[in-house]
Symmetry: C2
DNA sequence: CGTGAAACTGGAGTCGT
DNA sequence: ACGACTCCAGTTTCACG
C-alpha cells in the first residue's frame, strides 16, 4: 500500500471502469502492472468491490431517517448487529458514545414502509426506545467517492 | 426503468466490471441491448457513477462520528450545503425533522483531525452548537450495495 | 516491472420486428 | 423505438524476459 496504490484507488473511485492502460498512463506504469496492483488490493481487502452508485430517489428509496437506539441494560454489539442486519432498510449502523447505544441510518420507499422497518427494530429484545429524525433534504453525499 | 433495468442495476452493484454479455446472459438480453440500457440509465442519472468501495480502515479513515447541527435562526439548506461541502471529512449530511437542523456523518483519520474538521463546521456563521457521537464500532454497512 | 501475443470485450452501424 | 447481429479497434490476461 504505497503512494501509487493510493493514486490508483483515487482514479478508480472516480471511474471504476477506467482501462488499466489509462490508469497506468497517469501513474506511470504499464497496464499489466496496474492490474497486478488492483488484483492485490482486491485480495488484501483494501478494495471491497466494484459497484455502481445509484440515485436512491429513482431507485424508489427516497425516504431516509436517522434513528438513535436506546437499550435496556447491556446489549452486546454482536447481538445488535444480528438484530439490525435482519432489517434490509438498515443501511448503516454503529455503536456510539453518548446517551444512545447505537445510531442507525435507514432508507426505504416511503414513510409507511419506514415505520414498518422501525417497528421491526423496536420489537427486538432489550431495545427500550428509539428517537428518529426523518431526512428532509440531502445536503452532501460522498458515501462512495 | 422496468424489471430488467432493476436486475441489471442489481448485478452492477455486485460487480461493476461485469461484461455486458455476462449480464445479458443472466437477464436474457444481448450484450448490446444491455449496453444501451446502461447508457440510458447513466444519461437519466439513475446510475450516478461507477466506483470502488474501499475499506475505510485500510485507507486510514477509521474514526467516524455523527454530528447534530443546531443553528441560530433560519439557515437555508443551500447555505448548509455550501458550508458542509467545504469540509472533506463530511461524508453525508441532510436536514432533518426534530430539534436539530441537520445531521452530519463525518469520517477522518483520527480524533485530532476529526476535531479540526468539527471546528471548521462550528465556526460557520449561524451555527449555534453541535452534538457529537463518536462511532465505537461499525455494525452494519450496506452503503454501496 | 515491462513486453508481446491471444482471447475477449466494447463501441458503432445495420437490419428486422 | 427496441432488440439482435456483425465487424473492428481497443482492452484484458496470460505467458515469459
Amino acid at each position: 500500500m504505497d503512494a501509487i496504490d493510493s493514486r490508483i484507488i483515487d482514479l478508480l473511485k472516480r471511474n471504476a471502469r477506467s482501462a488499466y492502460g489509462d490508469i497506468g498512463a497517469v501513474v506511470g506504469l504499464s497496464a499489466s502492472a496496474v492490474k497486478r496492483r488492483v488484483d492485490r488490493l482486491l485480495a488484501e481487502g483494501v478494495i471491497r468491490s466494484f459497484t455502481v452508485q445509484v440515485d436512491p430517489a429513482t431507485e424508489g428509496m427516497s425516504t431516509e431517517a436517522w434513528v438513535e437506539l436506546f437499550c435496556r441494560g447491556t446489549v452486546s454489539p454482536t447481538e445488535l448487529r444480528r438484530i439490525l442486519s435482519a432489517v434490509p432498510e438498515v443501511v448503516y449502523a454503529g455503536t456510539v458514545t453518548g446517551s444512545a447505544d447505537a445510531i442507525v441510518h435507514m432508507r426505504s420507499r416511503d414513510i409507511p414502509s419506514l415505520e414498518l422497518a422501525l417497528e421491526r427494530v423496536r420489537v427486538a429484545p432489550n431495545v427500550d426506545h428509539t428517537r428518529s429524525a426523518i431526512v428532509l433534504s440531502r445536503l452532501v453525499n460522498r458515501t462512495a467517492g
